[in-house]
Symmetry: C2
């Protein structure tokens, strides 16, 4: 396996013939009833909740691993369950690794100085403590770049040393994001474009570029703001762009596909809720009944086909 | 005890007659040798590291609790030790609570939508799981407001419901922060000022204001950029301003005190390394020898006196 994240992710996208990745945002109350039955009430019983979530996520990983090249695991949904939730998050990283897919930790960490170093150690370095050989860090994480280059470089460098990558959050897809991120200077340059410039300068450093021409430093750009952000694709061709929001957040396949390079690489298009809760969707529930795993499998295949058709 | 964070923190500042707060950023390799001896090598032995860190932090909390009104605990230094580190972080929150001081979790979390809700649940709600009565969330946390109001409100509201507060990171003190945060529009308004406006609008909502006239929503403003940021104090008189950087990061007492309101409230001035590693400072080491606790105590008292003199 390549020791450079940008090569591994390129190979994963090519191998599975899709830019689609699946996001795990597990909410206990939405899990299939069969996974909640017989375990106590997960709203008050922490062990019941995390057992259900762990089973749901491991089974979902096995379903999607043959279809997509990567998964994104959102740590917020595990932090809610305190240190026991964090242990489950780490177990899932290992499960995904064992299935041979790339895994992105959606952690949105960001700070300055030594604190940034600590976060980078926590989330980008496979632990080197005795007896923890099976515990790994994700292949890449999301990073908040609000502090500028000083806040990004500790993550970018630690990632590179460890064969991992980062995606800096450049433009969000929520309604109010524009108030801050579209804030424009006298020449019309927007704040997110300035942030992209900072990220791009770091990303373009020659030692970061792998054999497919991509950097270990990428960007997160919301799929629901494609018109505004399309120019970033051309300006920063060496960056992988992680596009959240496909499916439930309202971005169409065409919206998301704009972030690919002409060679078909460069975009990772994430669908979370539309896939992992596919059993709530009448389209699948009617076809597969209580078989939630079939629903998830079919929704993943359908999303992949939909993206292929739009290419 | 008041059920409103902004009242509790005002009472704490008044009671201890100081805006000084102490930050815990524990780094294993810098801990007093006596706390590392006999426990194995904490660089490779996770249990040894967190045992040493826990002892250091609990003893430090006991030293500073009679002198200052609040402590800031930086979660990054615990995340490095995975789920076991997170458990120690939570244990320290409970220790601080038992000592009767306010505790701010420096977590810099930020995201949108349901993910923001999850982070708010994780860090601002005392866990309601069975058998976890002793586990508490901090009195307040730091928040990254990059996503604008949508990304701040889930934290602000969850905090208010639970008698807790937030400090949104508005201006950092690192050298490169200005590239993003001082990015200015045609009329000269800077991005951090725009972000402060968003935070201020949320903070000024009447139901957030406690009996001392302060909101449960405050700001983090680096102490090393006082000239640029001084106007924020006057514009947002209802916000508590958390000022990092006193001591080691190069901000002087006068730099930090600019963020107080005329009545002496409104600023929390944080010193971390200059206090918790005071035993590395020849000034204290020569006086107290190996008694690291006396060094920390004296450094805390000296910082408090220095701030008093500068008022």
């Amino acid at each position: 396996m390549s020791s450079h994240f940008s090569d591994r992710i390129a190979e994963a996208v090519k191998k599975k013939s899709t830019p689609l990745i699946v996001g795990l945002d597990p909410v206990y109350s939405r899990l299939p009833q069969t996974l909640r039955d017989g375990r106590g009430d997960g709203e008050t019983d922490l062990a019941a909740a995390i057992d259900s979530i762990f089973e749901f996520c491991t089974r979902t990983l096995k379903i999607v691993a043959p279809i997509v090249g990567a998964v994104k695991i959102n740590i917020a949904y595990f932090e809610k369950y305190l240190w026991e939730g964090l242990e489950v998050y780490h177990s899932l990283l290992s499960e995904a690794e064992a299935l041979g897919i790339e895994v992105i930790g959606d952690v949105k960490r960001g700070d300055i100085g030594h604190t940034a170093d600590c976060y980078a150690d926590a989330h980008l370095v496979n632990p080197e403590f005795e007896g923890m050989d099976s515990v790994i860090a994700p292949d890449a994480i999301t990073v908040n770049g609000f502090a500028g280059a000083d806040g990004i470089l500790p993550f970018a460098d630690k990632a590179l040393e460890n064969g991992k990558g980062i995606f800096v959050w450049v433009r969000a897809s929520n309604p109010s994001a524009g108030v801050i991120q579209d804030f424009a200077d006298a020449s019309g340059v927007k704040m997110y474009e300035k942030l992209a410039e900072v990220v791009g300068q770091i990303a373009n450093q020659p030692d970061r570029i792998g054999k497919f021409g991509y950097s270990n430093v990428g960007m997160v750009i919301g799929g629901t703001s494609p018109q505004e952000t399309e120019s970033l694709r051309k300006k920063y061709p060496k960056c992988w762009i992680l596009v959240p929001g496909y499916g439930s957040q309202g971005a169409t396949a065409a919206d998301c596909l704009r972030f690919r390079n002409p060679n078909g690489l460069g975009a990772l298009i994430n669908a979370s809720r539309s896939i992992i809760y596919a059993y709530e969707n009448p389209q699948y529930a009617q076809q597969f009944g209580d078989n939630w795993e079939k629903c998830i499998e079919q929704a993943t295949i359908d999303a992949k086909i939909e993206l292929s058709k739009a290419m």
